[in-house]
């Protein structure tokens, strides 16, 4: 899998030709649309009432078009001028801003009902020049985003983390900023179709996030088993079964298991 964030900063990587390629590819369009719809599904906004949504890393407005189709009004932010120019050419409905997520979300408190971000947040994990600190940028981003959402506002971000550390860093920064929520992984078994969604809420809301079909997967606690303690706790029967098992594994001839195994022999008269 190619990782553009390893090649160049976003405003450099998405130049005119790359943004044209990106926007005109039907495969990308299809994937982006699917992910936007999934993000909206997770957001679980009320139907039949207007919403004002922020699209972070909107690019050429592929996700914005879906938002318009679904009847939402939106504002988009992106760092790549070429991508935005492509968006203008395509006549997207929302207002576009040329700005860097890492410098914060420059909107007044309580502006948005919800925010989405499709394939963009992972760019925050990179330091593109020597004077930036990704950790500080993430914190600034999440803090200002928290402020610009209304209380009970929700944020769903699909992103491509390079490793678990990146995911952890992003989630930690969100937690520090005051967001509640966590990570949803779609298609966790498939390497290609696996998609990460960060699902965050700013304060309590009446309508919860739509978690239909999600399975809880708490981090596995691999506690080190104390062998000595286990041996002390086992019963006589378990002891014999264990010994027979090891002998069998070593290829020794062992008496067959039956209901009489490890039973006490009664004294004969």
């Amino acid at each position: 899998m190619s990782r553009p964030e390893q090649l160049a900063p976003p405003e450099v990587f998405y130049n005119d030709s790359e943004s044209f390629k990106y926007t005109s590819s039907t495969r990308v369009q299809h994937i982006q649309a699917k992910m936007t719809l999934r993000a909206l599904e997770l957001l679980n906004l009320e139907v039949d009432s207007p919403h004002f949504i922020l699209d972070l890393g909107c690019g050429s407005g592929l996700s914005g078009e879906i938002l318009t189709e679904e009847g939402y009004n939106w504002i988009g932010m992106d760092i790549s001028p070429s991508m935005l120019a492509t968006g203008i050419d395509r006549d997207v409905e929302g207002d576009l801003f040329l700005s860097d997520m890492g410098n914060g979300v420059h909107f007044r408190a309580g502006t948005f009902d919800a925010a989405i971000s499709i394939s963009a947040v992972q760019w925050l994990c990179n330091a593109d020049s020597s004077n930036v600190d990704p950790k500080k940028r993430m914190l600034r981003f999440f803090n200002s985003l928290y402020a610009s959402l209304k209380r009970g506002g929700k944020f769903v971000a699909q992103f491509y983390p390079m490793n678990d550390i990146q995911t952890e860093n992003l989630l930690n920064a969100a937690k520090v900023a005051g967001f509640g929520g966590g990570l949803i992984i779609d298609d966790p078994e498939s390497k290609r179709h696996k998609k990460y969604y960060m699902v965050l809420t700013a304060g309590q809301s009446e309508r919860n996030i739509n978690l239909a079909g999600a399975e809880m997967d708490a981090p596995e606690t691999t506690k080190k088993v104390n062998r000595k303690l286990l041996k002390k706790l086992e019963s006589k029967k378990e002891f014999i079964a264990r010994k027979k098992e090891t002998m069998k594994r070593r290829g020794k001839k062992v008496a067959l298991d039956s209901k009489f195994t490890a039973r006490k022999r009664r004294p004969r008269f």
Binding site: P50, L96, D100, H106
Partner: protein, 129 residues
């Protein structure tokens, strides 16, 4: 950039976060365009709650419109007949008016943000990040 958006944008610089002057930005040398958009009364009503009317007046004055009422229109219902006219007016002002070219100046730090091709440039120079 829609007129509506001007009511939400503030200065992006960190030191202006705590300043009351950073919002609304001061607009100057702006080129405006009227463009017909679909009329959505529910949306206007929804946004009306969170509009800062003083800021609306201030920005409108910057752009050369001084005919706005001093108080926010109240008791607006998207279904009622008699509020339709106000909603139409608001729609024309907030959604159909767009700033295509111009400058936005932060009243606190005096940083200038340029609007080009209706896209405001909020990228900050490295010393302000």
């Amino acid at each position: 950039m829609k007129f509506l958006t001007t009511n939400f944008v503030k200065c992006a610089i960190k030191t202006c976060d705590s300043s009351l002057e950073a919002f609304p930005l001061q607009y100057s040398e702006c080129e405006l365009v009227q463009e017909e958009q679909e009329f959505n009364p529910e949306f206007i009503c929804h946004m009306l709650d969170r509009l800062d009317w003083q800021a609306v007046i201030k920005v409108a004055k910057d752009l050369g419109n001084t005919s706005l009422p001093p108080n926010k229109p109240e008791d607006i219902d998207p279904i009622m007949e008699d509020s339709q006219a106000i909603l139409r007016d608001l729609h024309t002002l907030l959604v159909e008016t767009r700033i295509v070219e111009g400058k936005m100046i932060c009243r606190n730090c005096e940083h200038i943000y340029y609007i080009k091709n209706s896209i405001p440039n909020f990228l900050l120079p490295p010393h302000l990040c």
